[in-house]
Point group: D2
Chain length 310, copies 4
């Protein structure tokens, strides 16, 4: 029977296995393991081909410790276009400007934390003064920019040029990888822009980025997208394909805990995206339902192992 | 023992119970039922007091059938400030301009749907031609605006003025309830703005809204927020309190399926928000973890019953 | 197009709506709302027909306040066969023997609670001495039984006969509704049986119930099942249909937060059950993904309104 | 400030990393990554000490490809007591008796599958005839047993002795690792027992296992538990500590997607278990919220790397 071609091969785990060997074992397993192995296959094919590589980064991935993984992906040419939330950029700047995040606990006395001026992000603690230091630096940078009309992408590039390369924003600027952040106002960057514009002029056009983003989509031969979480980054990347005459993404990988049943775009399946033409009818696409702070490192380690060894 | 003051009262369900009576029964139950009853209590107190009422609307709530519930809340003065996603506004416009959404199935052949030009949103089907009709109308409206410099809020108000009042955008314009949509570019409105600005000028400043939004926060005596889902609307509403000298929201209700464990802001608890000062130390706040298309109607029905009867 | 027959009708919420009227509004909405309305339709049809009605009750539903809802369903003939977890029976006995559960908090200091001898079940607190009282009563009852060979169902019936009718176990005994609890050893009833059998004889055969359960399945004309959560109750009810020549359940309703993606039976869709023949090819079946402490009361209120009025 | 001792160290991913090296990088990250690294630390300490090691296995882990991982853990002395669901044992027997599971798709036409006699478990397909072969073998084995009074553990040991050692049941019998399965009736083993006992005698006492299980708990010096999913295995392992004078488990690891908010025991936190005394006040305990088919292999690979190298 055609449905019964691929027997499940029971995994074997040995001491000293590499990420690539683990994925090899997962490739004939099912549920999340099978899907993660499929994600590695798709990512490898996407990276080997001449694909324009979009990366959607939502969720508090920088506070969780994913900052340098993303930075290295940009540096090594694994990301051509980054779409992310303001928060990830804010926390990238906090660290590049000398601040730290700390491991805390998820069941904390939040009112006590507030008195101690510690901000909590699940089990991460961020001292208020690291935040304040970031705010001051950013306000100074806004003054320094001395430029009035920009797109969001241009603003982020200007910031990136002024920070150390050992950061997402810094390396993206060096590598000329555009960062799009449609909801930039919805972040501490937005709050500082508000403070800045109480005395100075700054005009960042909401829609100006669309032209550049669409041009990238139009020029691409093949297109692939990796989505960490959902949110604005996922939708912004996907929606571009509706108006692009490509017929949808050729490759798509989604690492998320969001579920489809509530109907929101974050949890929507990549199959649903095919009905809209956002993902191509013949595309290779997979969603892995598991914590992205676990699956992203494995995905990256395994695909690096394949690409750099062969 | 102080911890043991409130015995669980086993619920009793009778024929003909109103939403308010159901909530009454839930008020001494636990888990989701107890939390939903608490949400009704908080919402009632928030609405009875002189509270500035923020409403964060994420998820595909308009396609799901929540459009007129939100519209009526605005009309009846239950919402002072609406923050939402571009998608909810797009689907509001699709319906006010004569289009429909349809009940479909969640396990569909999405490639076949694509051939039939039907877009799927979980178990909702949207025919492509209703979408196309919306796009044409919106492009015409952009031309008609003939205005170049705006904030996002002003753009949405201009659109709202030109559509029937039996819609979220229409009634908000009539009632002078501002709609904020920081990620407007991330929607079909953004896509049409991109088309429009290929030939015409339009400059919508990303940060301009911040001033108006902050002014509302500064002027408010008491503040309350209802969050349907998370996303940008939730964060945008909450972050304003960081820079406002109020000490956080006085009331907060969250109806969501998102979970805290992945660390994203959408699933973050309202307690976590207290560590940041986004929600006040003495605030009344509750999260109900259940599908908002079920909990929102009950919440609204029960609170209307209490307010309009007493 | 055949797919586009049922337009979404936007819900309207008014003061004083009954559960039935709320469900009426939900019946042309989507996502959870649409599914809950469908569940009411299915439940109504199942109750109006001559259906053998199975009820699978998992999760801490008794501590949460659902005890008398289930008890009344048994009393009023809405349940012919109850399959549940040991825990729900234990907590039923705790209350019928004078104990209480209390509303606590979900983010508590559990070590401190342990010192205070308070057991926590999410946001429910149960004082250890109510538990101890239950244990003593149950041990006494085991002695009183003075019977050595029983099935689990018979043991539960014997207990039920000895407790007040205002309980799940009591009313089931009065109404001759069998309670099956395959994992009875996995509960405080099991722990007390262990204590009891250190000095006395008691032989409760694990497989003896299967005959009675299968006989019910064989004799049934039409079959329907309501699943609150998943676990053993769900699987035990469903698996019977594999060996029954009926072709699967005719009606099935599932109220759960479990998700399909991890592959466990609790989160498995009712469609998956059709591949096994557990649910019939032509069955009416729906899963509502939301907290059952919210959806069960509404489902029951709405279906009672329909049945008792018409 | 005491809360700010452990800065998040941003992860670095390199080509060729072993599971142990990946976990090393995760050990100063947060969210799921940090928790998984903590799980490895706890597991290592638990395995190095003279700990009685319980393993709770729920969910369809055998069909998913985790069968030989569990089997090898038993073989290598990592598991002293296995508590599992009937389903995992059934699927272990299906494979050891020559059957296979196959990779299918999660969005399938289940009625068509039913016609083709293929049973679906999320994205795993199981042909009906492999199931039938298992049933026949098991019925023959029941006859062969020719023993009437047993505990569930003894029944499973008898089966284990008669199957190849390259299976969970076979190796457990060889290694004298007891398998407990309180809800055995709730599985195809239960269904076959029902068929068997229509003509033959078999008396498997539900509570008989409790004595042996409690003896193990009483004799243990230190106790540790790994929970894959929740369900009966989790509760059965945990509840034993309520009546054991140990003060709860010393080590506990939980790999699950279940969430606490619905109040069920499957999703309950290990902190909640401390209020009951199931987990010790000073225990090391962690829950990793992610798909166990991904986290179990990594956990095992990393802990093997540590134990076998050092």
């Amino acid at each position: 029977m055609s449905e019964l071609r691929r027997p499940i091969k029971q995994m074997r785990i040995k001491d000293g296995m590499t990420a690539g060997e683990l994925i090899e074992e997962m490739s004939d397993a099912a549920f999340g393991a099978g899907r993660l192995a499929e994600a590695v296959d798709i990512y490898e094919e996407m990276l080997r081909n001449d694909t324009t590589k979009f990366f959607g980064l939502a969720g508090a991935m920088v506070p969780a410790g994913m900052r340098l993984i993303v930075k290295d992906l940009i540096e090594d040419g694994y990301i051509d276009v980054l779409v992310t939330t303001g928060a990830n950029l804010v926390h990238d700047l906090i660290e590049v400007w000398g601040g730290y995040h700390y491991r805390g606990t998820s069941c904390a006395d939040d009112i006590e934390l507030h008195h101690q001026q510690i901000n909590r992000i699940f089990d991460v603690f961020l001292p208020e003064d690291h935040f304040t230091a970031f705010e001051k630096k950013l306000l100074d940078l806004f003054v320094e920019l001395n430029k009035k009309d920009m797109s969001i992408r241009e603003l982020l590039m200007e910031i990136g040029r002024r920070v150390d390369a050992d950061s997402i924003m810094g390396v993206a600027a060096r590598k000329d990888v555009p960062i799009f952040c449609p909801a930039i106002a919805d972040s501490a960057i937005g709050l500082q822009a508000w403070l800045h514009t109480q005395t100075q002029k700054l005009n960042v056009d909401t829609f100006k980025d669309m032209h550049e983003f669409m041009d990238i989509c139009y020029k691409a031969k093949k297109t692939g997208a990796v989505f960490i979480g959902g949110g604005v980054p996922k939708n912004f990347i996907l929606q571009s394909m509706i108006v692009t005459p490509k017929g949808g993404f050729d490759y798509a990988i989604q690492l998320t805990m969001d579920r489809p049943e509530t109907g929101g775009l974050s949890g929507a399946t990549l199959d649903e995206a095919k009905s809209w033409g956002k993902v191509g009818a013949g595309a290779r696409a997979v969603t892995v339902y598991a914590d992205a702070t676990i699956t992203l490192p494995i995905l990256v380690a395994a695909v690096r192992e394949r690409l750099e060894r062969k």
